[in-house]
Amino acid sequence: MERLIQKRNGDLVPFDPMKIMNAIHMASQAVQDNMTPADYTYLTQKVCDMVSGVDVPTVEQVQDCVEETLIRYDFASTAKAYILYRAEHSKIRDSEAYLMDIYNRLTYSSAEAENIKRENANIDGDTAMGTMLKYGSEGSKYFIVNHVLPADIASAHANGDIHIHDMDFYMLTETCCQIDLIKLFADGFSTGHGYVREPQSIQTYSALACIAIQANQNEMHGGQSLPNFDYAMAGGVIKTYNKEYYHALEAFAEAALDYEPGKAQALKKVIQAEIPDPIRLEKEDEFLEALLDVLHDSLDEDTIRKMHRFSVRQAAESTTTQTRQAMQALIHNLNTMHSRAGAQVPFSSINYGTDTSPEGRLVIRTLLDATMDGLGAGETPIFPVQIFKVKDGVNFNPGEPNYDLFQQAIATSAKRLFPNFSFIDAPFNLPYYKEGDPNTEVAYMGCRTRVLGNNYDPSREVTFGRGNLSFTSINLPRLGIEAHGDIELFYKKLDDMMDLVIRQLLHRFKIQSAKKVRNYPFLMAQGIWIDSENLDIDDTIGEVLKHGTLSIGFIGLAETLVALIGKHHGESEEAQKLGLEIISHMRDKLDRESKETGLNFTLLATPAEGLSGRFVRIDRKKYGEIPGVTDREYYTNSFHVPVYYPIRAYRKIELEAPYHAFTNAGHISYVELDGDTCKNLTAFEAIIRYMKEQGIGYGSINHPVDRDPICGYTGVIGDVCPRCGRREGESVPLEKLRELRKKFPNVPNFVQ
């Protein structure tokens, strides 16, 4: 009777020993195990003998026997290759079903019900385009895992040893870039869909800033940042002020001197020809001197002075108004404009605070005003992430040129959560700083990413045009659990895991490097990325990408320490000491790797939004509920002291600050204040100052910002709105709102 074998789908087919031999042959070839044809025949015979006792063996049983036979006859590497091959194929079978299951859930469930649609809180998973984006993203991940990644790396990602961030973009692009608008705006630019001329007013500057962020967002998978927002916008203010000055001067000539429009215009042209430089804020007297010189033959001195005074007053007023409107528009645009086919707004960040020119100062002041006022109905703006750069000698102490703006930033942050604060004087930021060169000032991407050091080209340790290429995070608590208290074993596991991630980052970098300028019509073809302006459209980008960073991130230092020694760094000095040792060990290894490769390997305190729940879910299944380690729904953010642990604000800052020095790819620390403390600006400022003193690189203060959309109240709301007295979901009489509006003008009006 013919022997049969049962396939996975239940079908019975003839048993064919040749298939077994082929499988062994392929596995041995893969690892070049030097098997002879006699070995193949012998091993195949052994497998057939083993299953001969079973009436109708299954494919799985036969494969088990192959594994066992290979191991028994000491073909260890072939056995390993065969096991990997099996694992990979079973993964593919699983993921096919898995992918279809995901598509089902994306299609038929709401974001409310499905966590997968809320992986990133700023993407609307309920919309058509949000769902389309998820189809693409999930399909892409499937492709990457099953057809692109080396088997062991795919498996490390799948089983939760590591997390490859933005894996759906693995074959496509990089994370983020610090966009220098001054360079971009000079002589105009193309978005990839159309050409725009160099902007000529602050309002166009602001509009094009948004367009640039939007265009670049569509070519990269991370957020986009403007590192020198104040300096860049100041150029627009200069142009507007100059334009408005001449506008007023013409009006004066027509009204007060009774000039015909043509004659007034001719007067303007004469002045512009003689004084080519624009009139500048706070330098009006210099301009007047030149003006008196130019016009002394055609007008009497008194008239010239009067005309100048009038024009300056008009121009100053109009420029302030226009700048204010431009900043309001910027915030509105960045909260409403679409990217990624409407699934989200661009993830935008703007850094400012150090430009001490009157134009730059006007930009900062009106931007903070606009942030304080909020959006149309008084809502707190979510974007852009605003980062106020704190610097000794510029804005930190009374008497310094921008101290007033630092104070305004504190008041704004205490109400609106933004700006966050970055510290140029931090010991790891200051060495790069060159006074008067904003390109050497540290700038952060919203979530926390930072670039500055440059191992590839030490003469270019700058911010502009650079960013992160990709990052992958390590599940640190798992290594802690598996070390079973053996610190030496922990480091061994950590090194192995870091080696695997380094290999993975280089694997991805190779793919990225093969891309061409034409794949990035904005980022590369418009010269936004550093040195890309020297490339032709069909050049590959590998060389210029080397200015970017390849980063290893980590999550859950607190849980790792509990797993290793029973306590986290918030509750034990010993744990803090070990924590710092672990993180500095990681940094040292990456520094060595940078030196060896000539690339920029950096250490990231991972933001971990989608990741915070994923690792712990897998680990709880694997190791059970370990108190202080796997017993919550999330692993603690990077090196943070756990959010649930009661600790004084100052102590938290002291404990977290030293980790900022090691995490050169980016970091953030925050403290949580209650609503009342936050109203105390002196207390708020004291915390920010302490962050600076302790060497924090980037920090902010969290406090509850609630808003009742019905009466417009913004502040802390418990169960009952303190202004209109309603509970969530309850209605209030329109009459009551009318009464409230007399006292609070920002009460929305629902009567059309």
Partner: protein, 51 residues
């Protein structure tokens, strides 16, 4: 969110919740409703830091 006034009753706000804005990584998020389960849980656990 569209907020409609109920003509008959001259009332407004039925079924409308409060917005609660929180920082999640370095970003702000418009309302806690959009947080994933892990972050919701983390947000709930956060304790205030005294001086």
């Amino acid at each position: 969110m569209t907020i409609k006034q109920t003509k008959k009753s001259e009332l407004v706000g039925e079924g409308v919740g409060f917005d609660r804005i929180r920082r999640i990584t370095g970003y702000l998020v418009g309302t806690v409703d959009r947080f994933n389960n892990a972050k919701r849980s983390e947000e709930k656990d956060r304790v205030k830091h005294g001086f």
